[in-house]
């Protein structure tokens, strides 16, 4: 309490809102202690915004949790965590409980899990109010309504349960909850991960606006440098438990010095920046007949009670030999369903898919021959590999299914070589969990290459990989085109990726293809409103648009009705 009294003394300088001094966190395990955070110094003052960037496992979330001592029991906290000048480590449980949420609150990652699924959201927002402020039920209700209003949610939604809200709405609830007791510091842990670009932009706008209006301190954590740069004045890059670089956002993004920051910055390219365009632009589509062609493909799924959900409507596209095409859209836009249909994993309800001019057969037996021509690379390489199968078995699986004659070992070694896992023999007996994320994705690619396909359909091939690995996999896809003449259809939500490697872009929105053209045409001079909105939503680290000018005239202020399962009527 001594520090509190100092607060009142006019002569003493006000201590920073949050000060971390040589903070360490070690996890005790059976094999001894594992350091997660190794000596971090950081300061956040009132009204300041600090972004903490890093890849998964770098210790950034652990660091965030240590501020309110929310670490699991196996974690040991060292150093000083000063909240308003008071050391969190020395607080009694009672004092700590009083400080939690009232002095600093948290916007957790993945609001679906961070909200109690069986209680209405209004009640959950009201809970800290009742706990920290002895107010009347009427006052609590008024405050909840006020908070819902501030995060632009209809007051009537206070009786809704978390599962009845969309991802963006849930994140708004989390923000309302964090503001409930008017804390001076907000810690946002990956607040927009798993949200669509457009919804992400809205949430970032909202958060920045509220923080600016209230002069709150904000500590925001993300793996996405561009998100942080759009919201925060200062950036700190964390790597293996240490802060490797810290400075004003623009400096860290524009002129990173540490190799890890450089890799992180490169992973979020600026659309329109020629430096991040990895292919030579082509002006026209090639004259050759298309390798793959979809004509008026529609896919509908039967719903309950006789209703149907139309995932893809009348979609037509072509992929030519020796071409990389990006199919861009938000989640729920139908792009994955379209990809599955192109592979024959899903039957179209209308329209047809042609490969080299021949219509895709429907029978399983006939489709098997097609599978040797067109192969799939999935988003999550960890899930795409059977954890019990060695690399050799995984790569040889296709060869065995198709009973391809010849030297199996040589074919597997060849495929691994092409996927740049060298020397291949050293990877034969490795199990997926012994490999890094990037290596796993290479194994998946090698498994596809072993069948010597003409076309690769890659569904978000780098979305689940760490930023620093992303570049390597994209480079591999480009090299495969040069070396093997492989055509690739990349399915992605990430416009930056399209800008990186694609020749042509196809934009999909609500099951329809709304725009198509070369990368330069579409991304630099978009015709369709949706493409423009999508481009506008991409955080632009260099201008700091979101933080500086909250865009209130954004036409997409309303949550887009992108995902029919997520949006529920009132």
């Amino acid at each position: 309490m001594t520090t509190r009294e100092q607060d009142g003394a006019p002569s003493a300088p006000r201590p920073p809102l949050l000060e971390l001094r040589q903070v360490t966190v070690d996890y005790q395990s059976r094999r001894g202690s594992v350091p997660a955070v190794r000596g971090v110094d950081l300061t956040v003052d009132a009204g300041q915004t600090l972004g903490l960037a890093g890849e998964s496992g770098c210790g950034k979330s652990t660091l965030a949790m240590s501020v309110l001592r929310l670490l699991p029991r196996s974690a040991q906290l060292g150093g000083d965590v000063l909240l308003d000048g008071e050391n969190v480590r020395d607080m009694s449980w009672g004092r700590l409980r009083a400080v939690r949420w009232a002095s600093a609150s948290v916007v957790f990652q993945g609001a679906m899990h961070a909200l109690n699924p069986v209680r209405p959201i209004g009640e959950q927002i009201a809970e800290p109010l009742r706990l920290h402020r002895s107010t009347t039920p009427g006052a609590v209700r008024a405050r909840v309504n006020e908070l819902l209003d501030q995060v632009e949610l209809p007051v009537a939604r206070s009786t809704a349960y978390p599962h009845e809200l969309s991802g963006g709405q849930r994140q708004r609830v989390m923000i309302a909850m964090a503001l409930a007791c008017s804390p001076r510091l907000i810690i946002a842990d990956e607040p927009t991960t798993a949200l669509d670009v457009i919804v992400q932009a809205q949430i970032l706008d909202l958060l920045s606006r509220l923080v600016t209006e209230r002069e709150l301190g904000l500590l925001m954590i993300s793996h996405d440098l561009s998100v942080l740069a759009a919201c925060c004045e200062r950036l700190a890059v964390m790597y293996q438990g240490r802060i490797v670089e810290e400075g004003p956002s623009t400096d860290v993004v524009r002129t990173p010095t540490h190799p890890h920051s450089i890799a992180l910055a490169a992973a979020f390219p600026t659309v329109g920046d020629p430096a991040s365009r990895l292919v030579t632009p082509r002006d026209t589509t090639p004259d050759t007949p298309p390798l793959l062609e979809a004509r008026g493909v529609s896919v509908t799924f039967p719903g309950r009670g006789g209703t149907t959900t139309r995932a893809v409507s009348d979609a037509s596209l072509t992929v030519h030999p020796d071409e990389i095409v990006a199919l861009v859209g938000q989640s729920g836009s139908g792009k994955t369903t379209l990809a599955r249909t192109l592979l024959g994993l899903q039957q179209p309800t209308a329209g047809e898919v042609r490969f080299e001019g021949h219509r895709l057969p429907r029978s399983a037996r006939a489709l098997r021959a097609y599978r040797r021509q067109a192969q799939l690379v999935l988003q999550d390489p960890t899930g795409a590999l059977n954890p019990r199968h060695s690399v050799y078995e995984a790569v040889a699986e296709g060869l065995r299914i198709h009973r391809i004659p010849g030297d199996e070992t040589a074919a597997v070694a060849d495929a691994l070589n092409q996927a740049e896992l060298r020397p291949p023999e050293e990877f034969f007996t490795a199990l997926p969990h012994e490999l890094s994320g990037g290596q796993r994705q290479r194994v998946v690619i090698a498994g596809a290459l072993a069948l010597r396909p003409r076309l690769l359909i890659a569904d978000e091939p780098v979305a689940s990989l760490d930023a620093s690995v992303r570049g390597e996999i994209l480079a591999l896809l480009l090299r495969l085109r040069v070396d093997l003449g492989l055509s690739t259809l990349v399915i992605t939500h990430d416009l930056g990726l399209a800008w990186n490697i694609a020749d042509r872009v196809i934009v999909m929105y609500q099951g329809r293809i709304v725009e198509e053209g070369t990368v330069e045409q579409v991304l630099l001079d978009p015709r369709h409103d949706y493409t423009r909105t999508l481009l506008a939503a991409v955080p632009e680290p260099l201008t700091g648009r979101a933080a500086a000018t909250p865009n209130t005239t954004d036409p997409t202020r309303q949550e887009p009705t992108d995902d029919p399962t997520e949006v529920t009527g009132v």
Partner: protein, 350 residues
């Protein structure tokens, strides 16, 4: 048993089913549940009817065993029982009668099976009901405490006791309890009656009679509680452990809630939901427990009735008890589904 110990795996499946958008409303849901239950009931009747027809031996011979009967009398009896009709005809007759609440006449007692079952229903409900309520309360309480402090001495002891009692055959525990507390061992006198629901010469007055029944109820009820509480405890413990790592508990802690409030307001309500389904799924165990306990303590309930019918063998009575016991469990499961739907907002229609 196995799914008692691994509720997590069942839950994954149920969670998957929940993710489907809940449309169509309550009426539709109820209709489908009722249709399912009716199919199950019909299957039970079908099973009960044809299974017991496979019994070796002729029911008429069993009935007339030890008596002088003529061939005409036998033929007449067969005719009266409808045994000379083709099997499908017999089944349709049986089903028709069943719909009017007629289970046929007992071979042994010569009275309508329905009446006998009704008489025995009360004692079974008294015994199984009391024991289930006590076991659920005890099990849930122990399960919550164990899970919240898992790894502690309390948890290890409680789990060890539960597992051991779980491994004890019901009837054997009954025999031991009977020997120790009703017959008496060494210097210990018999404290409780050895069987039945009331004394041969019940005391006059309502209260003394209630006390008399309660006195008779103690041992069978204790035995049953001991055998079935463990499953509730383990189910609750696993469900709560499943919830313990959840992010929303971190949120609750971050809000500054005391640990017991985090537990009471957030963890337990979530853990209770899967427990409810599992508790009802294991109702069959309660029925098995009741059969064995009633047999050992000669408790005049449905289970004892069934075992008696088995020994005779009394075909209509066996069919009747089989249908009633199995039917009860099916009906209770439908109730559980409906209750669950009201409890869990995720399943409740949006």
């Amino acid at each position: 048993m196995s799914d008692l110990l691994t509720p997590g795996d069942q839950l994954t499946e149920e969670a998957g089913e929940e993710q489907r958008p809940a449309r169509g409303g309550l009426a539709r849901y109820l209709a489908s549940k009722l249709a399912g239950a009716l199919t199950s009931l019909l299957l039970v009747v079908l099973l009960g009817f044809f299974l017991f027809r496979m019994l070796p031996g002729d029911p008429v011979q069993t009935m007339t065993a030890g008596r002088e009967v003529t061939a005409e009398q036998i033929a007449e009896l067969r005719e009266r029982l409808g045994l000379s009709d083709p099997l499908w005809r017999q089944f349709l007759d049986y089903l028709g009668a069943l719909l009017q609440g007629d289970f046929g006449d007992s071979f042994r007692y010569g009275r309508p099976v329905g009446d006998i079952i009704l008489e025995r229903l009360g004692p079974t409900i008294l015994l199984a009901g009391t024991a289930t309520v006590l076991a659920i309360l005890l099990g849930l309480w122990l399960g919550v405490r164990s899970a919240w402090r898992h790894g502690s001495r309390f948890d290890r002891t409680a789990t060890g006791v539960a597992l051991t009692l779980w491994s004890v055959p019901t009837f054997w525990l009954g025999l031991i309890v009977l020997m120790v507390f009703a017959v008496g061992v060494g210097p210990l006198p018999g404290l409780f009656p050895t069987g039945g629901i009331r004394s041969i010469d019940p005391p006059p007055g309502l209260l003394p009679q209630i006390l008399d029944v309660a006195h008779h109820l103690v041992l069978p009820c204790l035995t049953m509680v001991a055998v079935i509480f463990a499953q509730y405890q383990m189910v609750m413990r696993s469900s709560l452990l499943e919830e313990m790592g959840s992010d929303y508990l971190t949120t609750a802690r971050a809000k500054g809630l005391r640990e017991d409030l985090v537990r009471r307001r957030h963890a337990v309500p979530n853990a209770l939901l899967p427990s409810v389904t599992l508790i009802f799924l294991h109702l069959g165990l309660v029925v098995s427990g009741a059969i064995m306990v009633e047999t050992v303590f000669s408790w005049p309930g449905l289970g004892y009735l069934m075992v008696n019918a088995l020994e005779y063998p009394d075909l209509p009575l066996m069919q009747g008890t089989f249908i009633v016991l199995a039917g009860t469990v099916i009906v209770m499961n439908v109730l559980a589904d409906v209750v669950y739907r009201f409890l869990d907002p995720r399943v409740r229609a949006a």
